[in-house]
């Protein structure tokens, strides 16, 4: 029997759908067994059928959204089918799906936290304010009371639980007392014995207010030598420092209260302005961020509430007046001018320095300070003794003998309190948690206290004069040397001579006038230029950038060296590994950093403890730029990140700066950080107070090599194409072409900016504002640094020594 006729398409289709009558189906089946062509055709029909029946295939990108939603049971049934169909065939999506499992739990497992007490205080203040306001116009009381009851019951558990949680790090300290009630508006305006002694670290000068004879004394903080007696007139009772402008402000508390400004460089009176405020100014402070002057004003009139008045630093015009909750007798601003402490009779109030919003209140009020790590400490009366109350990273409270007088924070952490023992004064050094570490007796009962980190010496100002005390010792208290106050019967010139030899730092011996304050070993090289050769030392290769004090440098043998520019003595602080490539040395107040880019290590020198710690930071070697802020924080720019290192906590943090390609960084006295963007010819300013970045275009031919912010707040940026830009108030204020690459920019003791350039003849240096009068030094110069006397120190890379240029000698 021959093969039957091939099946038609209709028959095949009907066969597939089981729609053929039984005899037909049997025949068709028989034929399909024998005919390969018809079987193949049927197979094709089957696969088409399967394709048509299946859910439409989707791309992975679509599928993953569906799979993610299916994971959350947020899909319709149809969508779920599509998702499953895709997952069945796609290995990558299946593996994504499996990973989603752990993800939510991992995120949910991040630690929980509560806002700081600062926020609690701010909300509590808002609640208080609004409660008072609503009581004035109360209505719907019955319903309100019932509801309050209901919600209160519901919340009891929550509040109880919250109250049981320790706030912050905690420790074995006493619980804080609730803040005392705020004194009423009728408090008398009393000018207390406020800040009467002040250290200007920029010029290493100690200023002392003598209210009774209308003068302010200026002393060398190291040698205690009398520098000047500045006649300001009136009754100078309080001092404040504008460090960036190098000016000392004096509050004159005579019948017409005025503000007197002293030039820190010349120690002469620059201006005197009568306060245009209604009330009595009790305290003054300078905002380090912008030079604005804060004045605390109180009034004897009950209807005039106490206020904080902000004056423009240059015009002395009132910028704003805000009422504050307390009549402040002392006022302290933090390092960044961000927060202020208002010390009143029995409570100390922490306010936001820009909005004057109350952030917190602490009991007691004789003196208060911000610690190096941002904590707040208040010194108050405790029976016949004193109490210190600390709030911040650690909450603590401690008591000790002696009536409280003054309190300061120490740069290395911890505090020093000045107390009255009845017949003499006493300095009590306290650790960050309020534990008494050391004490020292002072021969006079003082009003005020200051600490010089450089000499590790306290100065106490009192009615009988000024006493210096070396670092307090636990066993044998030092005998201080007392300096009598110039009184009516004593001429000021003799009265300010130290009564006893200075305990630290030898006074430089008599020298030729021209060489005053230059090391004896320095020899005249040519007019206006000296040369100090260093014996048994390597050639300087990197010069430290930063504050006055010692000149820090690294030599060709990789010795980190501190040079006393008064004596010419060089001290090896650390022998760094031979393999190290030190790119820069950053000099702060309490820390010095040497940055080694070959092994990615930062050598951290702690000045208080005199220890050198190598810190391995993997990003250092790929860092593009580095700078240091006045709080000693070290900043690096690495690829798309800016990293910062806090030496006090040893913590490092990173911020993604995304689009920027950072080439150079610099910081100003307010701790703001400038950085350049080399990819887009921009320059940007990061303000850490609000984390914001403001940028401006800065078209340039070369790459920025160095930046510095001068005392007027002008940012100077130099490029390897010899361009020198001045940026003031966010605007390009000037461009100069130097015709040689800018190697470095540095500040002199007065805060003026200088450049160091190089060309075939050697190093060139001059003031940025007068590049025409630049000087040439015929040597390869590794770096430029200025001492407190205004001498420019130029490191000679080719032989072990420095050129020293005497200002104004040319």
């Amino acid at each position: 029997m021959g093969r039957s006729t091939c099946l038609s398409a209709e028959t095949l289709s009907a066969f597939l759908d089981a729609e053929l009558a039984e005899p037909e189906r049997r025949d068709a089946q028989q034929h399909l067994r024998e005919c390969a062509a018809c079987s193949a055709e049927l197979a094709t029909y089957r696969s088409v059928e399967a394709l048509v029946a299946a859910p439409a295939p989707v791309e992975c990108a679509t599928a993953v959204a569906l799979l993610s939603a299916r994971h959350d049971r947020e899909l319709t049934q149809d969508e779920a089918l599509v998702a499953e169909a895709h997952a069945a065939t796609c290995l990558s999506c299946r593996s994504d799906l499996a990973a989603f499992d752990g993800l939510d739990a991992a995120i949910a497992g991040l630690p929980v936290a509560i806002p700081s007490t600062k926020v609690d205080a701010a909300i509590a203040a808002l609640v208080d304010r609004e409660t008072v306001r609503s009581r004035r116009g109360r209505r719907g009381l019955v319903a309100g009371l019932a509801l309050r009851g209901a919600v209160a019951t519901a919340l009891v558990g929550a509040i109880l639980l919250a109250a049981l949680q320790p706030q912050g790090g905690g420790g074995p300290q006493e619980a804080l007392q609730p803040p005392a009630p705020i004194a009423g508006g009728g408090a008398l305006a009393i000018v207390a014995s406020v800040q009467q002694v002040l250290l200007n670290p920029r010029t290493n000068t100690l200023y002392v207010a003598h209210p009774d004879d209308g003068t302010v004394g200026a002393f060398n903080a190291t040698t205690q030598e009398d520098i000047a007696t500045i006649r300001v007139g009136g009754r100078p009772v309080a001092l404040a420092l504008n460090e960036s402008a190098n000016r000392i402000l004096v509050l004159d508390d005579s019948s017409t209260q005025s503000l007197i400004e002293i030039d820190g460089a010349t120690n002469t009176v620059l201006s005197s302005t009568v306060f245009a405020v209604s009330g009595t100014v009790t305290a003054i402070q300078v905002d380090p961020a912008n030079g604005n002057i804060f004045a605390a004003v109180t009034s004897a009139q009950p209807q005039t509430p106490p206020a904080l008045v902000v004056l423009d630093g240059s015009t002395k015009k009132t910028e704003s007046t805000r009422t504050v909750p307390v009549a402040a007798q002392r006022m302290v601003l933090d390092q960044l001018g961000q927060r202020a402490l208002l010390v009143s009779d029995n409570v100390t109030t922490l306010v936001d320095a820009s909005t004057f919003k109350q952030l917190d209140q602490l009991p007691g009020g004789v003196a208060a300070t911000f610690s190096a790590n941002g904590s707040v400490a208040v010194l108050s009366v405790n029976g016949g003794g004193s109490r210190i109350t600390i709030a911040g990273a650690q909450n603590a409270s401690a008591t000790f003998d002696g009536a409280p007088l003054a309190l300061i924070a120490l740069p290395q952490g911890g505090y020093a309190a000045l107390v009255d023992d009845g017949t003499s004064g006493r300095i009590v050094e306290l650790s960050a948690d309020g534990t008494v570490v050391k004490t020292a007796t002072v021969s006079l009962v003082g009003h005020d206290l200051t600490y010089n980190a450089k000499t590790k010496q306290y100065a106490v100002a009192g009615d009988r004069g000024l006493a210096y005390v070396g670092g307090p010792a636990a066993a044998a208290p030092n005998t201080p040397s007392a300096v009598p106050t110039p009184g009516a019967s004593t001429p000021p010139s003799t009265a300010t001579t130290p009564a006893a030899p200075a305990p630290v730092a030898a006074i430089p011996g008599p020298q030729v006038e021209k060489q005053a304050a230059l090391p004896e070993a320095a020899t005249l090289a040519w007019k206006g230029m000296y040369r100090l050769d260093l014996v048994d030392r390597g050639n300087p290769t990197v010069v430290g950038r930063g504050r006055a004090g010692h000149l820090w440098y690294v030599d060709s043998a990789n010795r980190l060296t501190a040079l006393d520019t008064l004596t010419g003595d060089a001290f090896t602080i650390a022998q760094l590994p031979r393999a190290a490539t030190i790119r820069s040395v950053e000099v702060g107040t309490s820390f010095v950093y040497a940055i080694d880019v070959s092994t990615s290590v930062v050598y951290v020198v702690s000045l208080p403890s005199e220890k050198v710690t190598p810190v391995k930071l993997p990003f250092v070697k790929s860092s593009e730029a580095v700078t240091i802020t006045p709080d000693d924080t070290l900043w690096f720019a690495v690829a798309d990140q800016i990293l910062r290192f806090d030496p006090r906590t040893s913590l490092w943090e990173a911020a993604n700066v995304g689009l920027y390609s950072v080439g150079a960084m610099a910081s100003d006295s307010a701790g703001r950080v400038w950085f350049t963007d080399e990819a887009h010819d921009k320059i940007a300013l990061y303000d850490r107070r609000n984390h914001s970045v403001t940028e401006m275009p800065l078209p340039r031919k070369g790459a920025v090599t160095s930046m510095v912010v001068d005392a007027s707040g002008t940012l100077w940026a130099g490029t390897d194409a010899g361009e020198l830009f001045a940026i003031r108030s966010g605007q390009l204020a000037g461009t100069t072409l130097l015709a040689r690459p800018v190697l470095e920019l540095a500040l002199d003791g007065r805060g003026n900016a200088w450049f160091l350039g190089s060309d075939a003849r050697g190093g060139t240096f001059g003031q940025v504002q007068g590049p025409a009068s630049a000087q040439i030094v015929p040597a390869s110069i590794a770096g430029l640094w200025f001492d407190a006397g205004g001498h420019a120190w130029l490191a000679d890379r080719s032989s072990a020594g420095f050129f020293i240029a005497v200002p104004g000698a040319r």
Partner: protein
């Protein structure tokens, strides 16, 4: 570690009943009923603010800290959230649920905070020595490297995606609720969460591998 499906649906049912599951030690056993808070907000706003802050400050701050990765900024935005909420009490209606409403204010404030000018978001990378001191953190998990890695990935996500994922993963909110909080469609929420998860998966997978090899 991940809650089972059963636990998830339990979350959902608890949510509908108006009480919330606890995640941490700051959780109250019961939070005030939304209706009472809304009524109190009308009658005695200062008391309502106090009640809301006590009850929800931990939740809002934790959310903001996870999103912003900066304790100071999280502080600022927490304060801003409750201040703004107080100013907007008049807009609260009886149908409002307070916590999602607060989350909406907080997310908008946080995104604004980041966009108001360019801002740095600091991420604590760790301590060089063993002197780490995180005053506000309560770390009961002890898995610091992983925690930091999660935080780093979250920080790198587009803000909308990070917020959607956080609200879902941490609060267990449904897509509809997240859409209401974020003021967008459910489809958008679906794609935000999915995109967040995928970027997470990529970064997290890479991080895990790096950790294993490094």
């Amino acid at each position: 570690m991940r809650p089972s499906v059963g636990a998830l649906s339990l979350f959902a049912s608890l949510r509908e009943e108006g009480t919330r599951p606890g995640h941490g030690p700051y959780e109250a056993p019961a939070t005030p009923a939304d209706a009472q808070l809304v009524a109190l907000a009308r009658e005695a706003p200062a008391d309502a603010l106090e009640a809301m802050y006590s009850a929800y400050k931990g939740r809002i701050y934790t959310f903001l800290l996870r999103f912003l990765a900066d304790p100071e900024m999280a502080d600022d935005v927490t304060q801003e959230t409750f201040t703004k909420a107080y100013a907007a009490f008049a807009s609260l209606t009886n149908g409002h649920r307070v916590l999602p409403w607060l989350y909406r204010i907080a997310s908008n404030a946080a995104v604004d905070h980041l966009r108001r000018g360019k801002r740095f978001r600091w991420l604590r990378l760790g301590a060089v020595a063993d002197t780490a001191d995180e005053p506000h953190m309560r770390d009961d998990h002890g898995r610091v490297p992983e925690r930091e890695h999660i935080q780093a990935v979250l920080r790198g996500l587009p803000p909308e995606n990070a917020i959607a994922l956080l609200l879902h993963a941490v609060e267990g909110y449904s897509y509809l609720e997240i859409a209401q909080i974020q003021g967008c469609t459910m489809t958008a929420v679906r794609s935000r969460i999915a995109r967040a998860r995928v970027s997470f998966r990529r970064a997290y997978g890479q991080g895990a591998e790096t950790r294993q090899t490094g």
